[in-house]
């Protein structure tokens, strides 16, 4: 809906904006802010019989094992804690997915929230992408399983990342998107490669 002329109002409700407008930094690895991405935080007893059906209804995927992420194209399900999953899907599909979750978990104690606009998402790519994260996170990336979702900190803020394609996808809170972009860019500066 776009109105023109006097009295025109800016309606941003259907025009999602990523936190940094797709900022890019090219260093020894490439850092790119991506999104907006649809994200739903689903909290419930993961061993409840209705839980797999709710996840299936929302994103068409199964339940991940502990600390794992199941990815299929634009959709993914990540294990965040013993009672929390992160569902990833196209931004426009989040509202409908929430309705399907509510239907599948009707009467079951749960919490499902659209957190798409609360997050910022980054891609770190290139042959040395791991070094960008190694400098910022207290994580042994060599011991990280290929499909592992690791929640940790990036310098001073909470973050979660996993391997995807030729690099990593990292999620942070949107309120610290600028800080995280700065961290990743600084860490990826040419001349600061490890080893």
């Amino acid at each position: 809906m776009t109105r023109t002329g006097p009295g025109r109002m800016f309606d941003a409700s259907h025009m999602p904006q990523s936190a940094l407008g797709g900022a890019v930094f090219d260093g020894f690895a490439r850092v790119q802010e991506i999104g907006p991405l649809g994200m739903i935080s689903l909290r419930c007893a993961l061993d409840h019989p209705a839980c797999p059906a709710a996840v299936q209804a929302a994103v068409g995927l199964g339940l991940p094992a502990q600390r794992r992420i199941i990815m299929d194209g634009q959709r993914a399900v990540g294990w965040m804690s013993p009672d929390e999953l992160l569902l990833i899907l196209p931004y426009a599909d989040a509202a409908a997915a929430l309705q399907r979750i509510a239907a599948a978990l009707d009467g079951v104690h749960h919490l499902a929230v659209d957190v798409s606009d609360a997050r910022a998402v980054f891609r770190i790519t290139g042959p040395r992408a791991d070094q960008v994260l190694t400098k910022l996170c207290p994580v042994d990336l060599a011991a990280l399983a290929p499909d592992e979702l690791r929640r940790t900190r990036a310098a001073q803020v909470a973050a979660a990342f996993w391997r995807e394609g030729d690099g990593y996808t990292l999620v942070s809170f949107r309120s610290v998107a600028g800080y995280v972009m700065g961290l990743l860019s600084h860490s990826a500066q040419r001349g600061s490669e490890l080893g």
């Binding site: 600390r67 965040m80 207290p138 929640r151 900190r153």
Partner: protein, 107 residues
């Protein structure tokens, strides 16, 4: 540097990913308790030189509280276990008893 394995998500978390919660296995004395009991609950801590039971929160991770048994002198970790347990698991007790004969127990 202290590394504790979170019993909920299995991450070997480095100290900076965790938030300390201080002494574990305290018995709470609330409203209606005697002044002595409340004072002891509120202020008295063992602060031992040796085996210590502590609460930790995996703050930069799964967010869960868990308990850990470690040595405050050597930083040796004897084990971690879920916060729902009212007392340390038998295997951790056995491990501590084997390594620190004569320790006074967790209470």
């Amino acid at each position: 540097m202290l590394t504790l394995e979170c019993p909920y998500c299995g991450v070997k978390a480095e100290e900076t990913e965790l938030t300390p919660g201080y002494e574990a296995h305290l018995k709470r004395f609330g409203p209606g308790s005697s002044d002595d009991d409340f004072e002891s609950y509120m202020f008295a801590r063992k602060n031992p030189k040796g085996v210590h039971f502590e609460r930790w929160r995996h703050a930069y991770g799964c967010g869960k509280w868990f308990l850990a048994a470690r040595c405050t002198v050597t930083l040796e970790v004897f084990g971690t276990y879920p916060a729902q347990l009212g007392e340390p698991p038998a295997d951790i007790i056995a491990k501590i008893t084997a390594k620190r004969p004569g320790w006074e127990g967790y209470k």
